[in-house]
């Protein structure tokens, strides 16, 4: 309906992913903090995954947008060619 939902989803998850990865990276050395998550730096790992997910969403949204813009353009060129 005018707004492609993949755009806000993509934006939100890239931002959250970025936030978590940066937070995870900055607390890399803090082993006590990650004891609860079985020693895994879950912020960094999951932050990167979320960022990738958000990125893919944004990509899909932008691709869909350019396909829509190409469609009328190709109709125009078809007109001109005739």
């Amino acid at each position: 309906m005018g707004l492609d939902i993949r755009l806000p989803i993509g934006m939100m998850f890239t931002l959250i992913g970025l936030l978590l990865s940066i937070s995870g990276y900055m607390t890399k050395a803090d082993t006590a903090m990650y004891q609860c998550s079985l020693g895994i730096n879950i912020n960094l790992v999951w932050g990167v995954i979320l960022f990738a997910f958000g990125f893919v969403m944004l990509l899909l949204a932008l691709l869909a947008k350019s396909v829509k813009e190409d469609a009328p353009k190709s109709a125009e060129t078809a007109e001109v060619a005739r």
Binding site: I5, P8, F13, S23, S37, I42, G47
Partner: protein, 647 residues
């Protein structure tokens, strides 16, 4: 629960980001809200994958998230019946057989379909009961959220309730149904991405699936160790979905027999919810064309089949962890409220002063607290306190630690607290918050549509301009949110109220599917038959409830207050049998009354409303593998496979 969770800056930022995005989506959609059709039905323009995920998400409220983990701990993999038996078949049926009627007829809501098929009486009954139920459901959701924020983070109940409601109001008011749908899709991803790490860590911690299975085998033969139940079961009771069921009601922790499970849950309750509840059907009706509408429930069925991994498995993991006692984890105990401490502390002191024996001490303190207590811990506490009076804080902590009744609803949160460092914690909590708020948004959008079209336009102010109804829609959205808040306060003050409300929902929902199935597939069904059949079925539910009881319950709100003509092994069994009974009564009554009354509608009027009078939806344009019937069969086959894998 000794300590509150403390949120860090990262956690608050994630929460703030989510709120900003959902409100932002609402404002971004504002300019597309030109007609009432845009506001209430999204202008029927939404792609299938979006409506599909929204369809699932509208159903997946936070109460289900919390409740499924609770059931996973209490009953094990059998909880998956609510998905693989109690959802997928109904969703396929809706997609293949019923969506053509909902989408193809001129109906803009489920009650309106009833009006077109039958008459105004049954529409009035359905829209009134649905409107009331949906507002209460919204209030219950928000009450649970505000209570959670209060218990967990120490936030003020009133502020939490009003601020969260304000956020929901902001985006629903601006963007209507589309806002609700889009935020439901966002919420879907939040839930999956917010809880997947917790499930992964939990499974890793417990040793993996095979180790969990063998631990749960121990749990099944000794459930009393975790205060689950004092009965004993075969080793596969927590890890096998069907075998304990085949053994009868006493062989599985749910206390349900095979017939009640398959007919009561798998048919009546399941089809009654998925095929007639406007909250979910509204999402499918917002799809951009008939094919998308029919695909919506099928698309939703795919994640629905996999959800047990996300929501039920944590409960099973918690039971496994508690059994091995790793890292001193235990299932969270029921929390003692501050008013109860006022009685409990004097009770401990009194027991010590009077030098009561173990049994008497346990009785005194247990009654003061209101929960079951661990005898050894109580006796030790009383002795210690009598020897030297403990400071109040330490005394409270010891009393709380001595509670042996489990707070199953706290299971998923206890896992989040256990595994999430700051950062991840914010994500998981935001996911939980998102699902509560989405529950309110979904209910409010269903409410404002049913009010505006089925009550206001139908009876109070017909033939007004479209702009008039759109304004009414906006006003009633505000009213709906305010009513939900009122219901939340009501539910928070009278915990019995929640039970009564759930009960009434059950009474009304149980017979409903009989009316729909007869209306859609038998053109002979008359309006008299449908209306009185439905009333009779609802009355049947009430009578059944008033004359039956579950083992271990006392007559009262749980049933049996007129007489106890039958006892069931568990409340779940009672519910499933009630549903079966009500369905049967409604079906029979509708058929009988139909046969003795005259039809009021001719075949021509029923075109598009009844199966035999509606031209089959032309699927020829699509490839055979994309047709809803084929996709439905594939889904059912996979569903059967899942059932076999975990039988």
């Amino acid at each position: 629960m000794p300590t509150n969770i403390h949120l860090s800056l990262v956690d608050y930022t994630i929460l703030a980001l989510y709120c900003a995005f959902v409100v932002g989506i609402g404002f971004a959609l504002k300019r597309y809200m030109k007609t009432s059709a845009d506001f209430f039905m999204s202008g029927r323009s939404i792609p299938a994958w979006v409506t599909g995920l929204a369809f699932l998400s509208a159903n997946l409220g936070a109460l289900e998230l919390v409740g499924m983990a609770a059931s996973g701990a209490k009953y094990g993999i059998a909880t998956a019946h609510f998905y693989w038996l109690g959802a997928i078949p109904a969703m396929v049926f809706l997609a293949v057989f019923m969506m053509p009627f909902y989408y193809g007829s001129k109906a803009r809501s489920v009650p309106e379909y009833l009006k077109l098929r039958f008459d105004e009486r049954i529409r009035c009954f359905n829209s009134l009961s649905f409107a009331v139920m949906t507002v209460f459901a919204s209030g219950i959701s928000m009450n649970a959220l505000a209570k959670l924020l209060n218990q967990l983070l120490g936030w003020n109940y009133d502020y939490s309730l009003w601020i969260c409601s304000a956020v929901v109001l902001a985006y629903v008011l601006k963007g209507g149904l589309t806002s609700a749908i889009y935020t439901e899709v966002l919420q879907f991803f939040m839930i999956v991405l917010g809880f997947a790490p917790v499930v992964y860590l939990g499974l890793k911690d417990v040793g993996g699936w095979k180790v969990l299975n063998s631990t749960l085998a121990h749990v099944a033969t000794d459930p009393d160790k975790l205060a689950l139940t004092s009965k004993v079961y075969a080793p596969d009771a927590w890890t096998s979905a069907w075998k304990p069921l085949l053994g009868g009601a006493s062989a599985n922790p749910m206390g349900v027999d095979l017939f009640a499970m398959i007919f009561g849950l798998g048919f009546v309750l399941s089809f009654g919810y998925w095929c007639t509840n406007f909250l979910v059907v509204q999402r499918a009706m917002a799809a951009k064309n008939m094919t998308a509408a029919r695909r919506t429930p099928l698309i939703a069925a795919v994640p629905k089949m996999l959800f047990p991994v996300l929501v039920i498995l944590p409960g099973m993991i918690a039971a496994g962890l508690a059994y091995t006692g790793k890292d001193n984890y235990r299932l969270p105990p029921r929390m003692i409220m501050s008013e109860a401490y006022a009685k409990a502390i004097p009770a401990v002191q009194q027991a010590g002063a009077q030098n009561l024996d173990a049994q008497a001490s346990l009785k005194l303190v247990g009654e003061a607290v209101g929960f079951k207590m661990n005898p050894e811990k109580v006796v030790a506490l009383v002795k210690e306190n009598a020897a030297k009076a403990m400071p109040e804080a330490a005394l409270k902590a010891r009393i709380q630690a001595a509670v042996s009744e489990n707070d199953y609803d706290g299971v998923i949160l206890s896992l989040v607290k256990k595994y999430c460092p700051p950062g991840m914690l914010g994500l998981a909590l935001t996911a939980l918050l998102a699902s509560f708020m989405s529950g309110m948004a979904g209910n409010v959008t269903a409410f404002n549509t049913v009010w505006t079209y089925d009550l206001y336009q139908a009876y109070l102010a017909p033939n007004k301009s479209d702009g008039h109804y759109m304004n009414m829609g906006r006003i009633i959205t505000v009213v709906g949110v305010l009513l939900s808040i009122a219901c939340a306060y009501f539910a928070s003050n009278y915990s019995n109220a929640m039970d009564i409300i759930q009960l009434v929902f059950g009474f009304v929902n149980a017979p409903l599917f009989a009316t729909f199935v007869l209306g859609m597939f038998w053109k002979r069904t008359t309006s008299h038959g449908a209306f009185f059949g439905l009333l009779g079925g609802t009355a049947g539910s009430m009578i059944f409830h008033a004359t039956t009881l579950a083992a271990g319950n006392v007559p009262g709100i749980k049933g049996g207050y007129l007489a106890v003509l039958a006892t069931f092994p568990s409340e779940m069994a009672q519910n499933f049998w009630l549903a079966s009974f009500a369905f049967g009564v409604c079906f029979l009554l509708t058929v009988v009354i139909t046969l003795v009354t005259k039809r009021t509608k001719v075949d021509e009027e029923l075109k598009g409303l009844v199966y035999s009078l509606t031209p089959k939806v032309a699927d020829e344009g699509q490839a055979w593998y994309a047709r809803p019937a084929f996709l439905g069969c594939v889904l059912l086959a996979v569903c059967v496979l899942m059932n076999i894998l975990f039988c």
